[in-house]
Symmetry: C2
């Protein structure tokens, strides 16, 4: 021991993202704020529509804080939606019973009509949400900001809704890669600006959700998933050195390793299908990993959940690791199962 005062311990999630192996791996859950919580449903009823809800800092901050208050996760994730960016660019957005609905962007003229200069003003309420959360969160809890990755956001912008076959967006990308590149470039710049705003407002780490990364062949994956992600991570690293970017290329399968090696992300979030042994041997040797319990297990609960969570902790806890799901919490999840998982996760390895 020397006489220097020890630095105050960083927050557990930030330590894990910095490459530390913790006695107790930190945890949070994708979509941890949401419909499975009765207090969320009551809150949601106070806003007219979903976009208003996301852009109301009082309500969005409360939604962000609810799960942390109840379960004590190591991180809160900003309550918002990946489609706030297309809306801020000028695309009309609504939410129906079947999910999001947008007036599709189908060609270069539609892209030219979008305006990146709306981001700062239109998404300012998100920054206010972040400031409110930071003022309230416990000292040990990390606040994570997020955005959709350009490819995934583009799928919704071009398809106009969720899709099964991604016919319109892939077809455009195959037929007219230069034209489609303009949309991806616009989204890349908008995402950098948006995440920079979030970090400036107090987000301590950010996650890039590339939910539809898995539908692309390798060459297209390299161009539309990896390259824009690399531009985003490089721009953020320059402006905010040390702020971690977690990448989640859901469904990337055999391309997970290439993504981890080339995208510049600080940590990689694993979907349910990524084998734990592969994650340990091929990914965790390179960067911290996060994941990947099946959200269905959190609905099922009981022994199956307990066994899977314990195995996961044992297998990945020897390296830098964040416990999470492989996809978002399902609305059918009984909150008591999340509480049971929380109890299990606070036991040291």
């Amino acid at each position: 021991m020397n006489g220097a005062k020890p630095k105050p311990a960083a927050k557990p999630l930030l330590r894990a993202l910095g490459g530390e192996r913790l006695e107790r791996p930190p945890w949070w859950l994708m979509r941890q704020a949401g419909r499975y919580l009765p207090e969320y449903r009551a809150l949601r009823a106070q806003a007219r529509d979903f976009v208003d809800f996301c852009l109301n800092p009082v309500l969005a901050a409360e939604a962000t804080l609810q799960p942390v208050r109840r379960f004590g996760m190591d991180a809160a994730i900003l309550f918002a939606d990946i489609l706030l960016v297309p809306q801020a660019l000028g695309q009309k957005l609504g939410f129906g019973d079947e999910g999001p609905l947008l007036d599709p962007v189908t060609d270069s003229r539609d892209v030219a009509a979008l305006r990146a200069d709306g981001i700062a003003v239109r998404l300012e309420p998100v920054c206010e949400t972040i400031r409110r959360c930071r003022a309230t969160l416990p000292a040990e809890t990390t606040l994570i900001g997020f955005a959709g990755a350009p490819w995934t956001v583009a799928t919704y912008m071009v398809e106009g809704s969720g899709s099964r076959d991604f016919l319109r967006v892939k077809s455009w990308a195959y037929r007219d890669p230069a034209g489609f590149q303009a949309l991806i470039d616009l989204l890349t710049e908008a995402t950098i600006a948006y995440l920079a705003m979030q970090i400036s407002a107090g987000a301590e780490a950010v996650q890039l959700f590339d939910s539809w990364a898995g539908v692309l062949p390798e060459e297209a994956f390299a161009r539309w998933v990896i390259a824009p992600t690399r531009r985003i991570t490089a721009a953020l690293a320059e402006r905010f050195p040390g702020v971690p970017v977690i990448g989640f290329p859901r469904g990337a399968g055999l391309l997970y390793e290439r993504y981890a090696a080339e995208s510049g992300v600080s940590a990689v979030s694993l979907d349910t299908a990524v084998p734990i042994g592969f994650a340990r041997d091929r990914l965790q040797t390179r960067l911290p990993v996060q994941g990947n319990l099946d959200p269905v297990l959190l609905v099922t609960g009981g022994e199956a959940l307990e066994r899977a969570a314990t195995e996961l902790k044992m297998a990945l806890g020897a390296g830098p690791f964040i416990v999470n799901l492989g996809h978002g919490v399902l609305p059918q999840t009984p909150p008591e199962n999340v509480a049971a998982l929380a109890r299990l996760l606070v036991e040291p390895l």
Copy 2:
């Protein structure tokens, strides 16, 4: 040269499935019979509903033959549906605008009510379709039979329709693996019986479609995808040695290699996301591979299709290889793009 008469050359597709590298890789397309063809739509209009259509040997044989007549693929694939098996087991099946609808099987009692002894009688029309096709197909064209793999068929039986999150079926498998095993066992036996009927009637190879293999974590994948497939391949190998079984574990990603090594399939069909280099280095060294053009490219056509098909032929044509798509032909596909692909594929490497 000795005096022995040369054996007649086997059909190209069977030669590739037997491990031969052909100067011109054989080709066919998943869902090559279907709505993208005007002659199919006219034929379909002759049957009241889709199940009747599949079980009408005159119509189903004609649907099977149509694409081969037009484009000269190296194989015809039986026109049928993977959900004929649950129907033959006694589950109510219909087709709505959104896809299949079944009265869900939700517990062991529902499984006990299903009857495997209906397979032989209720699916006999499929055998008649096969006999009709064999009588008509050109001598060099292979007839492929098929079935859904137990896991994938179970997803529809338990969910009652297509699904996004597979909540019911996974939840059952996690909560009560022994009970769910009874459903998988029943389907495994039914699939063996059904494919044996198809082979006896004249199918020269069969394909197992495991369209939802990709939604399972590794341990569940091993139990519900690999193990039943291995039972099916072993049973068929015993009764019909030399009849190839092509496995298609769509979305298996990082588990493709384990599937290829352990399931006992003779060849593996690759989805769109499987990198060609991985297929060449890690799969084709072990068994013949089939795939994996993006079906969207076949809608797009033009240079993008031509370039992708040429690259694929160059990369995988050096080993046993069958050109196919990574998923089924989309209804929006212009038939002239299939014709263009056919022209490109008849050019030798």
